[in-house]
Structure formats: structure tokens, C-alpha cells
Amino acid sequence: MQAFTTLTARIVALPNENVDTDQIIPARFLKATDKVGMGDNLFADWRYDREGRPRPDFVLNTPEARGAAILLAGDNFGCGSSREHAAWALLGYGFRAVISTSFADIFRNNALKNGLLPVVVDADTHWQLFSVVGEEPAAEVTIDLAAQTLRLPDGRAVRFPIDAFACQCWLAGVDELGYLLARAPQIEAYEQRAGDMVRTK
């Protein structure tokens, strides 16, 4: 995983609430056995028509969206299916962070494990960001992970919460599997103590 310290980037605004992972990446793109090319199918059914032509009214197809690395989304982003392909698709497209008032639990976990930063802001900041993007699409914000702040174009810095453990992993570019593997002695001891609930073979 790529280490993440600060990010200064433009924002794409998608005001819909409850954006489910079936919209982020439709199930027909889950037949892959690798993670390659997921970004091409991000929001496929909103982004392209049935013939595969870009829909001009979808935000990712507007000229302002080009080069933006932060998605600003409505509440409860990433609900529904557990597919990690949703995080892969957002990253593959070029997003490094998603800002919302809340995230679905599994999506948030998947994002954190892949270097896609879920930033939770209060409703006022959320509203302010939408109006900033509406008025000035080229405006940039800065996310500082160590300071846990989001700096708005007017200079105001808003703190956002982040799981301290995930934050340490991110800043160091360390993955969680390494942490778990290092716990092998404790896992061994647990297995000795607890025994097996069921064996599948």
C-alpha cells in the first residue's frame, strides 16, 4: 500500500445519498480474477449509456472532473455488497479520498485496507464543500493525515476522525496482514486453549 501523508486535490461532487457498491461497480464486472482495469468501470451504469458512450450529464464525464482526486459524496456512501472491487475501482480511476457524512462499515474497512481515505465530516462542512465545488470547481482542498485535518479553500481546517491504528499503518505504508502474521504465537496459544468449534474436513 502506498504511504499517505498529505493530499492537495480538486473535488468531484456526487450529492446522492446511499450510493451502493452495485452503482460504484456493477456485479457484471466482478468476474475478474485480478484487480486490473476496475477504474474503467467505476460507476459504469451512470457513466456510460447502453452503447458504452459517456453520458454527458454524469459528473465524471464533465471537463471539471478531470484530474480530481477526491470524491465528495452523500451520506452512507458504499452501502450494500461487501465487494472490495468498489475500493479498487475508485482507486483505479484516480480517487485517493472520499468525503461524506458517513460510510457503510464494510466499504470503510475495504477503503482503509487499500489506501483510499474515507473522510467523515459534519453536515455543515459537508454542505459547505458542496457549495464550494458548485461555485468554484477548480478549488482545491488539502487533506493532512497526520494532523487529521481537511483544509478548505477559505483556509479553515476541519478535523476528521480516523481509526488510530489504520492511520499508523497508512503513515508508515504498513499493511495489516503483516501485523496479524506477527501475532502467530498468540494465535497458536488461542487455538490450543479454545480447541475447534467445527472442522470442515
Binding site: P15, E84, H85, A184, Q186
Partner: protein, 472 residues
């Protein structure tokens, strides 16, 4: 500091019993008793193991089947979609290479992963169970802590049999009263989602309690727990009782003889202690529920079947109003129109929500001696080979065929539309599955989620129909 003498919830007891290590400011290292895998969310996890040269720590606590992308037509035919074929072949290779038992397409135990776990007796009270699938909550019906994980976490569990997890909060969902005829477990869970919304359970584990829940069969309890995720809760649980033990006794992987006695003694200590505190409680009255059906594009956009399509103008919150307008535009429904009588093109009976024997019996009870409407295509997809066999043993396949339904092979089928079973753009389906998201059952397809009874009644009527009108 908590002590063992303090009253604990079912969730607390299982959580505490599975913490392998817990460092300050870090998530718990949580042990997983049973890991279920399928073809869609596992290939990249196995690729990760290969890259690092890691084995699967406990292949004997792991089990695999093919369900999401497997065709439900005649199994002797080849798989037409080369990507699906490749994904299934990859799972077979991964299971072979890493020593994981696989219930493959030709196995008498193949089926939807959340149907076969319970029917094999692998799912047991007090266990932690995970799967790269959000409907893993199904297994919570046995008083287990079961939740969906992403592919990175699938890799973590394969490599270490553990997960890093922050302790979630608990929410008691108390369902009072008794269900009326024609109203079932699917209606209960849809009514709950109507009440609390699709994000209402975020950060929480549900424990369903109350007389209406106690009165459900194991299969009904699975239907309720299954859709916990549609309210945002990762897990839903129901304390095990005699109904649970009766279901489990004699199943292939259930304990036997003295091990059974020991297990049931242990299981009886798991239910929530009197006086234990939940972080929050939600209450629902089963006695006033009617059959429920969705009208929009998430499971929270749901109403009693006798209601009308809601009117966006009546919604004050601008974000909610826009969401409703967008959903009704996608569904091409007229605000204020009655839900009853909305025309239907396809009916899907199946899935991890409603693909079990009792669901098929319910649907068949209305279809016996009737014909499905000539406009409607009806797919009946049993949840597993075992469900299929049991249904055929009691002649349900004949009932469905004579009514004009397709009787198919087990799989996820039109719930997720990965295997070729899908709606055409613009078609309407009444579906017993769990998600009515845009395009979920095929690009441009429009889904009404409902119970097996409502699905069967609608198949006969060719339109959304109230099953109570057809019940003897």
C-alpha cells in the same frame, strides 16, 4: 473493568470468547471459527497468498462452494460465459492447491454459501463466521456472530484465521406480537428497514428478540438475519433455543453423542443475560404488519402492499425528495398510484434470503392448481442441491412446472445477475431476493422486493398482488 458476573449480551459473550489479542488503541485480533468462500470475492485473496508464499493456516476451518456466477440451467451443459468459467476454474485450482474442501458444481451439497453452511451443520451457535459476502449475517440466526468481509480480509483469514476488528455497538431489535396470516419473516425485516432506514444499523450488531422472533422457524430466522446488512448492520443474531438445536441435530457436521450433549450445554449459556445492556433498542409490532413490498431503488424504500407509491412533493427534506424522485424515475412509477396492480414481467423465487425449502413451500402453496400469468416469466431457483432434492421429494417441482414456472439448478442467479439470469432493460420483477438497487438484477431492470407468498401471488396475477386474497 468488566467481570464475568456482569450481565452480558449474546454478542458480548461471543466477542469476548474470540479475542486472541488486544493492544491499546488497536483493533482486536478476532479468531474466526468458520470461513466460507466462493468464486467471486476470493481469487485476489489467493493471489495475495501466492505473492507472499503463505499457506492457508486452517483449511480445515474453511469451506468453499460455487454460487454467484454458476449458471442455473442444466449442469451438463458447458458454462457459456468464459469469464465465469475461468473464475470457477480458478476457485477449483485454489481449493486444490491449498487443501480446502470444495462443494463444486457437481456436488450434491453445492448451493448458495449461506444456504449450505446451515444445512450441513457447519453453522453452530457461539461461532464466529465470516465470508466475503455481505449476507453472511444469515448465519447469525443460530446465535453465531457472522459478518461479511472484503477480499483483503478474506486473505487475512486465509493466512491467519484471524481478523482485525473494532468492537461494534449492539442494538436490540425487539419484535413484539404475533404475525398475521400471509405475513412472514421477509415482511418483518422489510418493515424494520422501512422504520430505521438503510443506514440505521451502521456500526451496530443487531440482536433480534421478542415473541415474534421466537415463533419463527430456523429458516424464517435466517431470512430476518440475512437482510440485517440492508439496514447497515454488519451482523444480526438470534439466541439459540430448542428450535435451533432441533434443526441442527443429526446434520453432517453437527456434534454427536456426548459431544452433542456438551455442545448444547455450552450453547444454552450463550443467550443474553437478564439485565444486560444494549447500546440501543428498536421495537417493532409484528401484529400490525402487512405484506411489504419495495417501490424504490434501495430496501428502505418499502411500504405495505396496500399502500400507494409515495409522492415526492410530500417529502420536506430536499435530499430525501431528490432521492425519491430519482428512484421513481428509474422505476417509472407514478406518485400516488396504488402498488397493487403494478404490472410485472418476471418473478424470481430464490436467493440466500428466500431460497430454502420453507420458502418454496410457501410459494408452491399459492401456485398449486393455478397458472402463472401469460406475460410473466417465473424462475424458481432452489438455494442448494439439498433444497432442490427435498423439494422434488415432496413434488414441489411438479407444482411449479405445472403452474408454468422454470425449475432451475441452485445458485445466486437473478439476485445478483452475474450468471446470465437477468432482467432486460425496463422489465419489472417481483423478487424474493434482498436488493432492489438500480441494475442489480440486470442493467435497466426494476425490482420489487417481497416475500415468497407475494411473489407467487404476483406471478399468478401478472401484477403486484396481495397473497392474502389467494389464501384459502
Amino acid at each position: 473493568m468488566t467481570t464475568s458476573t456482569q450481565p452480558q449480551t449474546l454478542f458480548d459473550k461471543i466477542w469476548r470468547g474470540h479475542v486472541v489479542a488486544q493492544e491499546p488503541d488497536s483493533p482486536a485480533v478476532l479468531y474466526v471459527d468458520l470461513h466460507l468462500i466462493h468464486e467471486v470475492t476470493s481469487p485476489q485473496a489467493f493471489a495475495g497468498l501466492r505473492e507472499r508464499g503463505l499457506p492457508v493456516r486452517r483449511p480445515d476451518k474453511t469451506v468453499a462452494t460455487v454460487d454467484h456466477s454458476i449458471p442455473t440451467h442444466d449442469r451438463s451443459l458447458p458454462i457459456a460465459d468464459p469469464q465465469c468459467a475461468r473464475q470457477i476454474a480458478q476457485l477449483e485450482a485454489n481449493c486444490r492447491d491449498f487443501g480446502i474442501p470444495l462443494y463444486a458444481a457437481d456436488s450434491p451439497h453445492q448451493g448458495v454459501v449461506h444456504v449450505i453452511g446451515p444445512e450441513l451443520g457447519l453453522t453452530q451457535p457461539g461461532m464466529t463466521i465470516v465470508c466475503g459476502d455481505s449476507h453472511t449475517a444469515t448465519h447469525g440466526a443460530f446465535g453465531a456472530l457472522a459478518f461479511g468481509v472484503g477480499t483483503s480480509e478474506v486473505e487475512h483469514v486465509l493466512a491467519t484465521q484471524c481478523l482485525l476488528q473494532h468492537k461494534p455497538k449492539t442494538c436490540e431489535v425487539r419484535v413484539e406480537g404475533r404475525l398475521r396470516p400471509g405475513v412472514g419473516p421477509k415482511d418483518v425485516i422489510l418493515a424494520l428497514i422501512a422504520q430505521i432506514g438503510v443506514g440505521g444499523g451502521t456500526g451496530h450488531v443487531f440482536e433480534y428478540t421478542g415473541p415474534a422472533i421466537r415463533g419463527l422457524s430456523m429458516e424464517g430466522r435466517m431470512t430476518v438475519c440475512n437482510m440485517s446488512i440492508e439496514a447497515g448492520a454488519r451482523a444480526g443474531m438470534i439466541a439459540a433455543d430448542d428450535v435451533t438445536f432441533e434443526y441442527l441435530a443429526g446434520r453432517p457436521f453437527a456434534p454427536t453423542a456426548t459431544a452433542w450433549e456438551e455442545a448444547t450445554a455450552r450453547w444454552r449459556k450463550l443467550p443474553t443475560d437478564p439485565g444486560a445492556a444494549y447500546d440501543k433498542t428498536v421495537t417493532l409490532d409484528a401484529a400490525v404488519l402487512e405484506p411489504m413490498i419495495t417501490y424504490g431503488t434501495n430496501p428502505g424504500m418499502v411500504a405495505a402492499i396496500t399502500d400507494r407509491v409515495p409522492t415526492p412533493d410530500a417529502v420536506r427534506d430536499p435530499v430525501q425528495r431528490r432521492a425519491l424522485e430519482k428512484a421513481l424515475a428509474y422505476m417509472a412509477l407514478t406518485p400516488g398510484a396504488a402498488l397493487l396492480g403494478q404490472p410485472v414481467d418476471v418473478v424470481f423465487i430464490g436467493s440466500c434470503t428466500n431460497g430454502r425449502l420453507s420458502d418454496l413451500r410457501q410459494a408452491a402453496s399459492l401456485l398449486r392448481g393455478r397458472k402463472v400469468h401469460k406475460r410473466v416469466r417465473v424462475l424458481v431457483v432452489p438455494g442448494s442441491q439439498q433444497v432442490k432434492e427435498e423439494a422434488e421429494a415432496e413434488g414441489l417441482d411438479v407444482v411449479f412446472r405445472e403452474a408454468g414456472c422454470e425449475w432451475r439448478e441452485p445458485g445466486c442467479s437473478m439476485c445478483i445477475a452475474m450468471n446470465g439470469d437477468q432482467l432486460q432493460p425496463g422489465q419489472y420483477a417481483v423478487s424474493t431476493s434482498n436488493r432492489n438497487f438500480e441494475g442489480r438484477q440486470g442493467p435497466g431492470g426494476r425490482t420489487f422486493l417481497a416475500s415468497p407468498l407475494t411473489a407467487a401471488a404476483s406471478a399468478v396475477a401478472g401484477a403486484i398482488a396481495d397473497p392474502r386474497a389467494m389464501m384459502a
